[in-house]
């Protein structure tokens, strides 16, 4: 390519090292349009529905009224909502924070020390669990956990209806299975980005693998860990996948907030209430992210 030497007027404005204002605006405009039309408008509209009594059928469909915070009050007194909240928090804590992140990290760490072939194979299998579409995955797990014919019972010799006896544990394990790939990939990159020299120095100095982990790898990967936890806790909190396994049952024991909203919206066509719950979920996500960021800052 031919680069002509041009005058300084083309250089970027001070403060923006490589980008001039016009180019920046140009690059941002498609995303801005998209975000306004297809993200902000429907999101704000949904939040608006949360302060109405709108339903998709019935009188409230023809004459929705603004009822301000009635939906929110109803939610805070609704035992099913409170139970859903509890279930969702346990689910997120268990499967995202302690599950996917930890398993993903250990996997990434172990795999960083094995041969390329082993690594690719393991990664392939873990990623398959993540890539297979959710409607298929639910079938696979219903078959796997089936009481009479399931693979798990076949292997362990037990005869347990896993989804009935241990529903919350089942969906937590399911979600770990489903989502670990993302954490594993992210942490792989984190570990790969640590200069080999640092680790070499530590090893020569006699540090055990565990000590290397604690003093070198973990600190270097801090920002990755933060990003990862932020994303996966958000995604898991809103995850709808387990619906296809338990339908939120038995008896609401696995009714995540996303399933609660789904039931309000699709089963009862109560979009006003469902939207209010979605708004509450948003606030909770905000709270969780603040906690994660705060925890990240503290460990300095």
């Amino acid at each position: 390519m031919s680069i002509k030497t041009r005058s300084d007027s083309r250089a970027a404005k001070p403060g923006n090292s490589v980008l001039n204002g016009r180019a920046a605006a140009f690059f941002l405009s498609p995303a801005t349009i998209f975000i306004i039309i297809f993200l902000l408008v429907p999101a704000v509209w949904t939040l608006y529905l949360g302060i109405t009594d709108y339903k998709l059928t019935g009188f409230s469909a023809a004459n929705p009224q603004i009822i301000w915070f009635d939906n929110f009050q109803k939610a805070l007194h609704d035992p099913q909502f409170l139970s859903s909240l509890k279930v969702t928090l346990i689910f997120t804590l268990g499967s995202a924070i302690f599950g996917q992140a930890v398993v993903g990290f250990i996997l990434a760490w172990v795999l960083s020390n094995v041969s390329k072939r082993v690594r690719s194979t393991v990664e392939l299998i873990v990623i398959c669990a993540w890539i297979v579409p959710s409607s298929v995955v639910s079938f696979l797990w219903v078959a796997f956990l089936n009481g009479d014919q399931g693979t798990l019972n076949m292997l362990t010799g037990l005869n347990i209806q896993w989804l009935i006896k241990y529903p919350l544990v089942s969906i937590i394990i399911f979600n770990i299975w489903r989502g670990t790939a993302f954490s594993m990939l992210l942490f792989s990159a984190a570990i790969a980005s640590i200069p080999k020299s640092h680790i070499e120095v530590a090893r020569v100095a006699g540090a055990s693998k565990l000590q290397q982990l604690r003093h070198i790898i973990l600190p270097s990967a801090r920002s990755f860990i933060l990003t990862n936890l932020l994303l996966i806790s958000l995604w898991t909190f809103n995850d709808f996948g387990p619906y296809l396994l338990t339908g939120g049952g038995p008896g609401g024991k696995t009714e995540l907030l996303s399933i609660f909203v789904y039931n309000s919206a699709l089963r009862y066509l109560d979009f006003g209430y469902g939207s209010a719950i979605a708004a509450l979920m948003l606030m909770m996500n905000l709270a969780i992210s603040l906690i994660v960021i705060r925890a990240g800052k503290k460990n300095r």
Binding site: F59, A61, I164, G252
Partner: protein
């Protein structure tokens, strides 16, 4: 130049006048003749000729081996149902595509009307279908003829999405349809709300007790068993459990995993058998913590906790899994009794096309009416009860072709069309028309039984806006009983939730 009107010109003039007079006569005669016989559907002679029948522009078309004056306008209607070839409700999809559309199109062509009927198939679960339909109707679009489950009629009507048939199509033509006399009033009730008829029902079904005759004989129970009380059911189940421990004695749907199947095949029948319908249309109250509800919950308690003749696990599974498990067990002779609708006979254990084929279905399955709690303790003093569901088709009030849509709807419910539906798929069901049922049900012992014994004792779910949510509360209540909670607690909790849902003034307690 002299142009004299001599004799030859006079002759010419005369012949001219004569010719024009005759011509005028002929022309007016022809016109008079055409004006008299050009009607939409009338015969014409020259293909391609254009004319007018009153205000309608018509052209001469060749239809089969006839030539017919045909309306030049093409009437397009779209019909939608939750049915798809090779998938869900395959028979309905096949009937619409292979019979209704071609026959209706031909019938109209022969009457001089060009219609294009488009079928929009879908294969999603019923709640999703309902949502799509509601979205479309809310946006004032959607198909012209749409299928609708009977118990959505109330909420769709309240939302203004659908209107009574005689307000959408011409009231006179709706009233004049001869099909109404063949559809029993109780079946018409499927699509009726607040006294107005919103659509034409497609058929109905009934519930009863299935039992395995061979297992009964082994346990020493009679092959022509007919219980007359809930106690009879429990005692038969206990006998079966004692004599045949490897077999599941009884299945009665419970819990909210099975959704409306728990209502229709379960508690609704027991509430009716205890003397109360779930909703009283006169007082506009739902049953709260009442004796009927407590008795019904106690019955479940007896089955699952006291006598332990039921399979709790099946009823705690999510979605269809538990119901499937019960179907499979019955088809294999591992379940002795279950309360189900005729759908199980037709579509599940059908030895040829069923999902869980039962080879000895025709010889080994017995039918018994669902008894009331005790003799004559049911609503209206009935000793036996059943519940029926059903759906139908209606016309979209936003349709651009309302009259044609009505004609299609009437056609779909004509004797010929309904008979064709029965023969096209091969699986007979209870239709909405008495005349068709008289022909098709003769050979099928189960459907005959249902038509003669269950339908006369049947009830329909209330067309009330909150029914759906109340039903879910009761489904959950039965599930809690199966999970081991006490009747008193469950009944009290149910009433609390019910009051939050519909308002305390609309709840009956005693």
């Amino acid at each position: 130049m002299n142009i004299k009107l001599g004799r030859p010109s006079g002759r010419v003039l005369k012949s001219l006048v004569g010719a024009s007079l005759t011509g005028a006569l002929i022309l007016s005669g022809v016109t008079a003749v055409s004006a008299a016989t050009v009607t939409v559907g009338g015969t014409c002679t020259k293909v391609g000729a254009a004319s007018k029948a009153g205000k309608t522009a018509v052209a001469c078309k060749s239809v089969g081996n006839k030539k017919i004056w045909t309306d030049t306008k093409i009437y397009t209607v779209e019909v939608a149902a939750n049915a798809i070839l090779g998938g869900k409700n395959n028979q309905t999809a096949s009937w619409i595509m292979n019979y209704v559309i071609p026959s209706f199109t031909l019938q109209n062509a022969e009457a001089g009307k060009q219609v294009t009927v488009k079928f929009t198939p879908k294969g999603i679960d019923d709640t999703a279908f309902k949502t799509q339909l509601a979205l479309d109707l809310a946006a004032k679009r959607g198909p012209d003829v749409l299928s609708l489950d009977g118990f959505w009629v109330a909420e769709f009507a309240d939302a203004g999405y659908i209107k009574p048939l005689n307000q959408v199509a011409s009231a006179a033509s709706v009233k004049a349809w001869d099909g109404w006399s063949q559809i029993p009033t109780s079946v018409q009730g499927v699509m009726t709300y607040n006294g107005a008829v919103y659509g034409v029902p497609s058929g109905t079904d009934g519930r009863f007790i299935y039992f395995n005759k061979a297992l009964f004989t082994q346990a020493g129970l009679p092959v022509n068993w007919q219980p007359t009380s809930w106690a009879d059911i429990l005692s038969a189940a206990t006998t079966l459990k004692t004599k045949l421990p490897d077999v599941q004695a009884l299945q009665v749907n419970a819990g909210d995993g099975m959704g409306e199947a728990t209502a229709m095949q379960g508690f609704l029948n027991f509430l009716a058998g205890a003397g109360n319908l779930i909703y009283d249309a006169k007082t506009k109250k739902y049953l709260g913590n009442t004796k009927a509800v407590r008795d019904m919950l106690t019955f479940y308690d007896n089955i699952y906790n006291v006598k332990k003749v039921g399979n709790s696990d099946w009823n705690l599974l999510a979605g269809e899994a538990g119901r499937n498990a019960s179907f499979e067990a019955f088809s294999k002779g591992k379940l002795a009794m279950m309360i189900e609708g005729d759908y199980q006979w037709r579509g599940v254990i059908n030895p040829i096309t069923g999902n869980y084929k039962m080879a000895d279905r025709d010889t080994n399955v017995g039918f018994a009416k669902i008894p009331a709690q005790t003799a004559k303790s049911g609503v209206n003093g009935q000793s036996f009860v059943s519940y029926s569901g059903g759906g139908g088709y209606t016309i979209n009030p936003n349709s651009n072709e309302k009259q044609t849509a009505w004609e299609l709807l009437a056609f779909m419910n004509s004797k010929g069309a309904v008979l064709a539906n029965m023969s096209i798929g091969g699986a007979v069901r209870i239709t909405q028309r008495k005349d068709v049922n008289a022909i098709t049900l003769l050979a099928d012992p189960c459907l005959k039984f249902v038509f003669e014994n269950a339908i006369p004792n049947t009830f329909f779910r209330p067309a009330e806006v909150n029914y759906n949510a109340v039903s879910t509360l009761l489904q959950k209540a039965t599930g809690q009983i199966v999970a081991g909670k006490s009747v008193a607690t469950v009944a009290a909790d149910y009433e609390t939730s019910l009051k939050t849902l519909v308002g305390a003034t609309n709840v009956l307690s005693n």
